[in-house]
Structures are given as structure tokens and as C-alpha cells.
């Protein structure tokens, strides 16, 4: 591999990692706050991509899709949490089963509504060209994904550390019952958390749609990636999602081109290795069982 190619591959890896971060941030947020492993996360991601498909087909506006699709999926999350998840609060296994059910229903409804053909949307105008980096062309859209992922990480970090909502989230992650005892409306906080997590999955779906295609089965493919990222990075922390995606994106990219025969196993090998050395993940904290 020439140095130029290596640089370009590193960019590829980082941009894939940035996308994984957008996807995994929501999963991590929901887990950290609510102690729910939301296996419908992949379905929300898929739904985001399909809603983007319709919006782009109707209006040609990618940017509209980028705003509208996460809002719609957030609204869906706002319905699902009180209607379904709340009834099972504290029953972890039942909650996991429920989210699998939700994901199957969403995937089938998508099949009925949009059909089961493979689809794709064009790159948004202005980001559909390439620029010259280290003597070769590099697609601008990938740089946009990196920038977007980084900006989102900063925004989430600021919200997390500097705002009242962030303080509530941090408190909720530490001890939700105590937070409720202090008079915080925990039901509302959980519903909003779930909605924001779902919206982030939808956002990732929109961002990924021009690059990775839109097809039945994409929900499962990316659910697995996002689970690997949060487990490697450390469950339930924002910095963990950053660390996990920063590691898994490049590992996956370099692994595929350098050791194609092990490509699929490689990220799981990394996950196993990380868990052996740090059972809580790279930046995970020890959680006290409640």
C-alpha cells in the first residue's frame, strides 16, 4: 500500500467511523439512561433511510430529508416509549424482546410501503463532486460525513456537560430512582431520551442512504455494527461511542482491504480483545448492579 493510498484509506476509515458514531450515539444514549438495549435501533436507522428516499423523490431536497426524517422518527419514539416500553420498565429481557418485535414490525411495514427492491438516493447537490487530496480525488460527501460526525459529537458533549438536560441525563445514568425521588419527571425524561436516540438513528439512516444504499436487511447489518461500537467503546457513555467508532471504523476499513478473508471476523476479534483487557469497554465505567 503506497503512502497516498494509506492516507485515503485512513480517511475512508474515519468517515465510516463518523457514520458509525452518529448511529451508535443514539443506542448508547438510550442504554446509558434507560438501561434498555434497544434492538429496534437498526429499524429506526432503516426507516430514516426510507423516509429520506421518499422526501428526495418528491422534492429533490436532501437537506429537507436530513431535518424531517429524524423529527418524524423522534416522534415515533415519543409514541413507542410511553405506549410500550414504559410498561416493562425494569424487566430487561422483556424490553429486549419487545424492541426485537418493534424492529420486525417496522421492517415489514417498510416492505409493504416501499416494496422490497433495492434503492439508492443521489448525493446532495454541492457534495457530489470530488476534490484533490494527496494527489488523488476524494469525494466531498465523505468529508462532509466526517465533519458532521465531529460536529455532532461536540454538540452532544456540550449538551451533556453544560446544560440542565445534560445534568439530568448524567444523574439519570447514575441513579434514575433517586432522580425521580428528587421530583424530576422521569417518565417525561425517558420518553424524550428514547425519542432523541431514535432520531439519531434516523439521522444516521439519512446520512448513510446516498453511500450505502437502501435495502431490506440493512437494519440488521447496521444494528450489529452499532452494538459492536458501543460495546467496544463502553456502554452508555458518549465518549465511549466516540472511542468505539473511532476504533471500529478504521479497523473495519483497513481489515477489509488488508485481510479480506478475515474482514467480517476482524471487528469481532477486536471486540473480544478489548473486552478481555477492559471488560467495561475502552471508556466504560463500572456500573453498580441495581
Amino acid at each position: 500500500m503506497t503512502p497516498e493510498t494509506a492516507v485515503v484509506q485512513a480517511l475512508n476509515g474515519i468517515s465510516f467511523g463518523a457514520l458509525l458514531f452518529i448511529l451508535a450515539a443514539g443506542l448508547s444514549l438510550i442504554f446509558g439512561m434507560m438501561d434498555v438495549v434497544n434492538l429496534a435501533h437498526g429499524a429506526f436507522y432503516m426507516l430514516g433511510a426510507y423516509i429520506a428516499l421518499t422526501i428526495v423523490q418528491r422534492t429533490g431536497q436532501f437537506w429537507l430529508a436530513l431535518v424531517l426524517a429524524p423529527l418524524l422518527i423522534g416522534a415515533l419514539g415519543l409514541v413507542i416509549e410511553p405506549l410500550l416500553l414504559r410498561r416493562l420498565r425494569g424487566r430487561h429481557l422483556d424490553q429486549v424482546l419487545l424492541t426485537i418485535g418493534v424492529s420486525l414490525v417496522i421492517a415489514d411495514l417498510i416492505g409493504l410501503t416501499w416494496g422490497r427492491e433495492i434503492r439508492s438516493i443521489p448525493f446532495p447537490a454541492g457534495l457530489d463532486h470530488a476534490i484533490t487530496i494527496v494527489g488523488g480525488d476524494y469525494p466531498v460527501y465523505r468529508l462532509f460525513v466526517i465533519a458532521f460526525g465531529a460536529a455532532l459529537a461536540v454538540v452532544l458533549a456540550v449538551v451533556h456537560r453544560r446544560t440542565r438536560v445534560g445534568a439530568l441525563i448524567r444523574a439519570g445514568v447514575d441513579d434514575a430512582p433517586m432522580l425521580a425521588a428528587l421530583g424530576v419527571d422521569i417518565d417525561r425524561l425517558f420518553a424524550i431520551t428514547f425519542a432523541v436516540g431514535a432520531a439519531l438513528a434516523g439521522l444516521a439512516g439519512v446520512i448513510a442512504a446516498p453511500v450505502f444504499g437502501i435495502y431490506p436487511g440493512m437494519d440488521v447489518d447496521y444494528l450489529i455494527y452499532s452494538l459492536v461500537v458501543v460495546v467496544v467503546g463502553g456502554l452508555g457513555t458518549l465518549s465511549g461511542a466516540v472511542a468505539g467508532s473511532a476504533l471500529i471504523g478504521p479497523v473495519d476499513t483497513f481489515g477489509k482491504v488488508l485481510f479480506p478473508q478475515f474482514a467480517l471476523a476482524l471487528i469481532f476479534a477486536v471486540m473480544a480483545l478489548v473486552l478481555l483487557m477492559r471488560p467495561t469497554g475502552l471508556l466504560g465505567r463500572i456500573r453498580i448492579a441495581r
Binding site: Q9, G115, S120, G136, T253
Partner: protein, 366 residues
């Protein structure tokens, strides 16, 4: 019929079902004066499910004939059960070479007296274009880049043997895991090497992602040429990538633009019924139905004598939308013309245009 109606190949199953229904509708739901009932089952792209449903056809439905199956691993998984039950089966898609070949210890699969194939073997869509490139097109060097699974590897190997036999040289190869999310890393590697002609096997979402990554890195402008087995630029892909596949050269036994009376009639009837263009999967199912229809006529609708029915199938010859169709009596794989096609943009639409033909290609059978 055993077809995928869920999971990633659902649309292929739908397409074959549409062609089958259209054929029967045209014949008034009767073949050789015998009413025909079709039971559709979902193989869900899973060998275990495929095996269960095949057993259901054998034990409880007691069907006279089975058709379908999209993915090669499923076809391989049910091969022995079909052979043991003496169930006549027409494979309408899966192209794994071993299904119609003599292999050592029947691994991973092997031909059966009871198994016919109305689609293709991967040899047929890969070897001829290799030879054609070396001898007709004057290509000297090719780099291969295929999906890393049975079918992609078979395609690369068959292309390589055809191309090197014609005097060409393979300068290197690269493989992408099936269903790779991100194709940019692979195309980056392609661009990092010198050979301009790339031979690929990808289909569906992989093909779309590959072509888009190809465009993003400006491969065509840098002088690279995309080539491959026909599924790389079939309609499901072209309608999503449009002119981005412009100039890609692929080989297949059919194209929607193929100029013959049967194809025109087929495309028109299909479009009229469903308001959409047929794809190659529809043609495969359609020809499976034609073969069954003609064989049934030859035995006057009597399927009780299996050997007579098999002999009748071996002897069918007809004009298909793809051209002349007959089964190779040795292998039960079709003998068919392979077309070399180039993607061109005509009145704003990307289509496969025929630029060459390799006549009467049959699988070597071993």
C-alpha cells in the same frame, strides 16, 4: 415454487412469481389440457428453511414438479433430498457450477437426473467474456475484483481461465466480503494499482454501492474500465445508478433491449400486465415454464412416468426471449448464446446495448 419473498432477494422472488403467473394466465391456467396449480413457498434465503419447504412439497403436497430457488447454497442444500425423492426440479436462478456438474464425491453438489436449470451456470456468464476480452476486444491485462463468496469466486476463476486461455494476463485480484457496507476502501485499492480493465462480480446493493464509489473516485475519468458478469448492470442496479454505469461492459444471456420477436412479445405482455419492465429473473422463470409446458405437451400431460417426462424435458427446444433455448442433455444446464453488452445512455435512460455475442455456450459439465 420455492422462492424468496422476504429478506434481501425478495424482489427476485416477486419477479419470478410475476412471470410464472403471467405465463399461466396466458395459457388459461392449464398446460397440455391439464389444470395447473402452483403452490408458492418462501425460502427466506435460508438453506434450512429451503430444505423444510422442499420436504413439505415432497411429503405433504406431493407435487409433480418443483421450481425456483434463488441462492446457490439453498440449491446445494436441497439437492440430495430432491435426488432421493426423485422429484423433478427446475432451478430458475442459482448459478453455482456444481449443481449441473460431475464433481468428486458430489461436493459441494453435483448434477442429478432430476435437476434441470433454466437460468445459467456461473461459467456461462464469466468464461465467455474472458475469452472474448482476450481474443476479440484485444484486452491484455485485467485485474479482478469480486464478492468474496462461492459465486463471486467461481465467476473470477472462470473469467480468469477464459481470459488466460485467450492469451490475457491477470495482474491481481481483490475480494470484498458479501454485503460490504462501504465500497470506497476497495475502489481506493483499485485506483492504487495500474491495470485499467477491472473485471467484477457484484449484484444488487453491492453493485450499486460499488458503482457509486467508482464514480466518486473518478475512476472512469482516470482511464479505468468497469467490466463484469451481467448482474453488475441489470435493471435493478441501472435504475438506481443511471448514467454512472455508462460504458460498463458485461456479459449475460439476455438484455431487455434484445432484438427478437419473442423478447418483444414477452416484454410487451409483462409491461402491460404489471406496468414495469421485466428483468432477467423473470425471463429465467418464464423459460422454466415454457420448458415445462412443452415437455408436458410431449407426454400428453401425464407426469406419472418420470423417465418419460425427463426425456421430454431433455428434448424441448424453443425460442426464448433470450434466443434459442435447449437443455444440454449431459448436464441439464441450458445451451444458450451469451451476449456482450455495454451500458449506454439512450434518450436519457441507461440501458444495456448488445455489442457482441458468443454463440451456443454450454457448460463443460466438470
Amino acid at each position: 415454487m420455492l422462492l424468496p419473498f422476504t429478506k434481501v432477494y425478495a424482489e427476485l422472488g416477486n419477479s419470478m412469481q410475476r412471470a410464472t403467473k403471467l405465463y399461466l394466465k396466458q395459457k388459461g391456467d392449464a398446460l397440455a389440457n391439464r389444470p395447473v396449480t402452483v403452490i408458492y413457498e418462501d425460502e427466506a434465503n435460508d438453506p434450512v428453511v429451503g430444505a423444510q419447504k422442499t420436504q413439505k412439497f415432497i411429503d405433504s403436497d406431493r407435487v409433480d414438479l418443483m421450481m425456483g430457488i434463488v441462492a446457490t447454497p439453498i440449491a446445494y442444500a436441497v439437492r440430495n433430498a430432491i435426488d432421493a425423492a426423485k422429484l423433478i426440479f427446475i432451478e430458475t436462478n442459482a448459478g453455482g457450477n456444481a449443481l449441473t456438474r460431475t464433481t468428486t464425491d458430489c461436493k459441494p453438489s453435483c448434477k442429478s437426473k432430476y435437476i434441470f436449470r433454466s437460468s445459467f451456470s456461473s461459467y456461462q456468464i464469466s468464461y465467455p467474456i474472458g475469452e472474448y476480452f482476450a481474443t476479440q476486444k484485444g484486452v491484455k491485462e485485467v485485474f479482478t475484483f469480486v464478492a468474496d463468496y462461492g459465486f463471486g469466486n467461481e465467476s473470477a476463476a472462470d473469467f480468469t481461465s477464459g481470459f488466460t486461455k485467450g492469451g490475457g494476463k491477470i495482474t491481481g485480484s481483490l475480494k470484498a466480503p458479501l454485503g460490504s457496507a462501504d465500497f470506497l476502501p476497495f475502489v481506493t485499492q483499485l485506483k492504487g494499482q495500474q491495470t485499467k480493465d477491472i473485471y467484477s462480480f457484484f449484484s444488487g446493493t453491492d453493485a450499486i454501492n460499488y458503482i457509486k464509489a467508482w464514480t466518486q473516485l473518478g475512476m472512469t475519468a482516470s482511464g479505468y474500465k468497469m467490466n463484469g458478469a451481467g448482474f453488475l448492470t441489470e435493471q435493478d442496479v441501472l435504475k438506481e445508478v443511471g448514467d454512472q454505469a455508462n460504458g460498463a461492459t458485461t456479459s449475460l444471456f439476455w438484455a431487455v433491449t434484445l432484438d427478437n420477436a419473442e423478447n418483444k412479445a414477452f416484454v410487451d405482455a409483462y409491461q402491460k400486465e404489471y406496468s414495469l419492465l421485466p428483468d432477467v429473473f423473470a425471463v429465467q422463470a418464464w423459460d422454466g415454464m415454457q420448458a415445462v409446458d412443452l415437455a408436458l405437451q410431449a407426454v400428453k400431460g401425464d407426469t406419472s412416468n418420470k423417465d418419460a417426462f425427463i426425456a421430454a424435458l431433455e428434448n424441448v427446444k424453443f425460442k426464448s426471449p433470450r434466443g434459442d433455448f435447449e437443455f444440454d442433455k449431459e448436464t441439464h444446464n441450458p445451451i444458450q448464446d451469451i451476449y456482450i453488452r455495454e451500458v449506454k445512455v439512450q434518450s436519457g435512460q441507461a440501458v444495456n446495448t448488445i455489442v457482441g455475442k458468443v454463440a451456443r455456450v454450454t457448460d463443460p459439465g466438470k
